[in-house]
C-alpha cells in the first residue's frame, strides 16, 4: 500500500472525476507535478468545496475538462489565472456550486443515496445554472415548500495530503473530516503524508478518533512538506510569498512554464 507520488499518479486515467480538498485542509501539492507528468487528461475536478493553486496548475497543464466548485482563488494572491482564462475562453466547463451543496453531494454518496435535500438555493443563479439539480415540494409539508435535491457526487478518485499514516494504510486526518467524506464517496483514494508512523493508528482511541481507516485508502506515498506552498492544518503555515510568486508568474504562458519548470527541479525524487 506504501508507494510514491509518481506511482500514485499512475492510477489516474483520462476522464476520471477527481475530488480535491480546500486549500487549508490538506491539498496534496506533491501530487500535482506527477499528475501533470503522467498526463491523464479530460479530468472532471470536484473542489471540496473550493479550489485554488492545484486546480489552477492542472488547468494550466491542459488536463481539465470541467470543474465543480463553489469558489476559486489563490487567497491573498488573488484570482486563479488559468481558471479565469479557461472560463473566459470556454475551454473548461464550470459547474458552479455553493459549499454545502458539494458537501451534500458527497454525503449522498457516503450514504449510498441517490440525492440529499438542501435548504437555501431557491432564487439563486447558482441553482438556475444547475440543470442536474432538482426541485420538489417537501413531501412532509402540507403542499408547497419547494426544496432542492442535490444528486450524489461519486468521484473516481480522491487525492489529499495528511500529517501521517501507519503501515497498515490508516491515515490520520484529525478534525479535517471532509477528507473522510471525500474518501467515503470516492471509488479510490490516494494520499500523500508527512510521515509514516510505527504501530497502528487504530490501536489507541486517541489517535483512532482522527483516523481514516485503511478500508477507504487505496495507496499512500510519503511526501514531506507535501502541501507546500499551501499549509497543512496543525502542521505548518502556508508560504504566502510563494503563492504570490505563482499568482504573478502564471498570468502569462511563459511565466507559468518557467514557474512549473523551477518547481519540477525541487519536487522530482
Amino acid at each position: 500500500m506504501l508507494s510514491n507520488p509518481r506511482a500514485l499518479a499512475g492510477a489516474i486515467t483520462s476522464g476520471m472525476r477527481v475530488a480535491l480538498p480546500v486549500d487549508y485542509a490538506g491539498v496534496s501539492m506533491a501530487m500535482t507535478r506527477p499528475m501533470i507528468d503522467h498526463g491523464a487528461g479530460d479530468l472532471d475536478l470536484v473542489c471540496v468545496p473550493t479550489g485554488g493553486l492545484q486546480v489552477d496548475q492542472l488547468i494550466g497543464a491542459g488536463l481539465v475538462r470541467s470543474v465543480e466548485t463553489s469558489a476559486m482563488s489563490l487567497g491573498e494572491a488573488g484570482g486563479a489565472p488559468h481558471f479565469n482564462h479557461a472560463v473566459k475562453e470556454g475551454a473548461i466547463l464550470v459547474k458552479g456550486a455553493t459549499c454545502p451543496a458539494i458537501h451534500a453531494g458527497l454525503m449522498a454518496a457516503q450514504k449510498g443515496s441517490p440525492f440529499v435535500p438542501m435548504r437555501g438555493l431557491i432564487g439563486t443563479d447558482v441553482l438556475h445554472h444547475r440543470a442536474d439539480w432538482r426541485i420538489i415540494d417537501n413531501p412532509f409539508a402540507d403542499g408547497g415548500d419547494p426544496i432542492v435535491l442535490i444528486p450524489a457526487i461519486k468521484p473516481d478518485v480522491a487525492i489529499f495530503h495528511a500529517a501521517m499514516a501507519d503501515k497498515h494504510g490508516n491515515v490520520w486526518i484529525g478534525r479535517r473530516r471532509e477528507l473522510a467524506a471525500m474518501a467515503y464517496a470516492s471509488t479510490t483514494t490516494l494520499v500523500t503524508v508527512e510521515r509514516i508512523v510505527e504501530g497502528s493508528l487504530l490501536a489507541d482511541e486517541m489517535t483512532a478518533a482522527g483516523t481514516l481507516p485503511a478500508l477507504y485508502v487505496t495507496a499512500i506515498a510519503l511526501a514531506p512538506k507535501g502541501a507546500w506552498p499551501y499549509g497543512l492544518w496543525g502542521e505548518y503555515a502556508p508560504d504566502t510569498p510563494e503563492l504570490l510568486l505563482y499568482g504573478k508568474a502564471a498570468r502569462t504562458a511563459e511565466g507559468f512554464a518557467d514557474y512549473m519548470a523551477t518547481q519540477q527541479a525541487e519536487t522530482v525524487k
Binding site: A25, S70, S73, G90, T98, C99, T124, P146, R176, E178
Partner: protein
C-alpha cells in the same frame, strides 16, 4: 478625548449591529467583522453578561469546529449561528448579492472567486450583515448580474435568515424585507447624503437630514485599542499592526 479612525467607527458599528447574538461566524479574511465581534464580546464580559462565541473560519486558533468544513453550514442549518457577514462584488437595492462576476455567466468580463456558502447561509442565518467598505456605483448596483444569494424570497420559500443591515465606508443602511429595500440609517462622520446618493447605484429611503453614525465613547475606544487589538493580533497580525500605526498617527485633541 481622542479622535477616532474611520475604521474604528466601522468596528464599533459592527459591535452594535451584533448586540444580542450568542454566536457569530466570520470569514477567514474579515478582520473588521472579527474586531467588531471581539469588541462586543469584551464589552459583555466586562459587565458579566452571557458570553458571545466567535468562530473565525479557517483559523486554527479561533476554530470551535471539529467536523470538517461542512460543520459551519450544518451549524447554521441547526440555527446555532445568529450572525454572519457577507461582502459582494455587487449588491443591489433588493439586497441581492453577486460573488461571481460581471457580465454574462459563465464567461464573465470580471470574475470574482465565487459564491462560497452564500447561497445557503443567506437563507438560514438570521442576521446577515452586508459589509463592503468600497462604496461606489460599481459595487452598489441597480440589479446584480448574477444572484449568488437573493435578498428576499417568496412567502412559500423556507427561509429563517437574510439581510439585516448594510455597512459601508460611508454609511449604515437597514434592510426592510417587506418593501423590499434599504433605508439609510446614518452617515459616517466626514460623509454626507449627496455623496452617498452619488455613490449608490440603487434607490434607498432616507431622512431629509440623516443622523451621523455614533462615534464610540472613550471606554469602548480604550477596549478596542487595547484588549481587542491584542486578541486580533493572533489571527490578523498585519491588520492589527496597521490599526495601531494609524491610531498612533492621530492627533490627540
Amino acid at each position: 478625548m481622542s479622535q477616532v479612525l474611520p475604521r474604528e467607527i466601522l468596528i464599533c458599528t459592527i459591535a452594535r449591529l451584533l448586540e444580542g447574538v450568542r454566536h457569530v461566524a466570520v470569514g477567514a479574511s474579515s478582520p473588521m467583522p472579527a474586531a467588531g465581534a471581539m469588541l462586543l464580546r469584551a464589552m459583555k464580559e466586562q459587565v458579566g453578561a452571557a458570553p458571545i462565541r466567535i468562530s473565525i473560519l479557517g483559523s486554527v486558533e479561533h476554530n470551535f469546529f471539529t467536523n470538517g468544513s461542512t460543520e459551519l453550514f450544518d451549524c447554521a442549518g441547526q440555527g446555532r449561528i445568529d450572525a454572519f457577514f457577507l461582502g459582494g462584488g455587487q449588491i443591489d437595492g433588493q439586497a441581492n448579492v453577486n460573488l461571481v462576476g460581471v457580465g454574462d455567466y459563465p464567461q464573465s468580463i470580471v470574475r470574482w472567486p465565487g459564491s462560497f456558502g452564500a447561497a445557503y447561509l443567506y437563507f438560514v442565518v438570521p442576521r446577515v450583515i452586508l459589509f463592503r467598505e468600497e462604496h461606489s456605483p460599481r459595487v452598489f448596483v441597480e440589479k446584480v448580474d448574477f444572484i449568488s444569494a437573493p435578498g428576499t424570497s417568496d412567502p412559500g420559500i423556507h427561509r429563517t435568515g437574510g439581510p439585516y443591515a448594510l455597512l459601508t465606508s460611508k454609511g449604515l443602511f437597514q434592510f426592510d424585507k417587506t418593501r423590499p429595500g434599504f433605508t439609510l440609517e446614518s452617515v459616517h462622520p466626514g460623509h454626507d447624503l449627496d455623496e452617498i446618493r452619488a455613490a449608490t447605484g440603487f434607490d434607498f429611503l432616507h431622512d431629509a437630514a440623516p443622523p451621523v453614525t455614533a462615534t464610540p465613547d472613550n471606554a469602548m475606544l480604550a477596549l478596542l485599542r487595547g484588549r481587542v487589538l491584542d486578541e486580533l493580533e493572533e489571527t490578523y497580525p498585519a491588520f492589527a499592526a496597521e490599526m495601531r500605526r494609524d491610531g498612533a498617527a492621530l492627533p490627540v485633541l
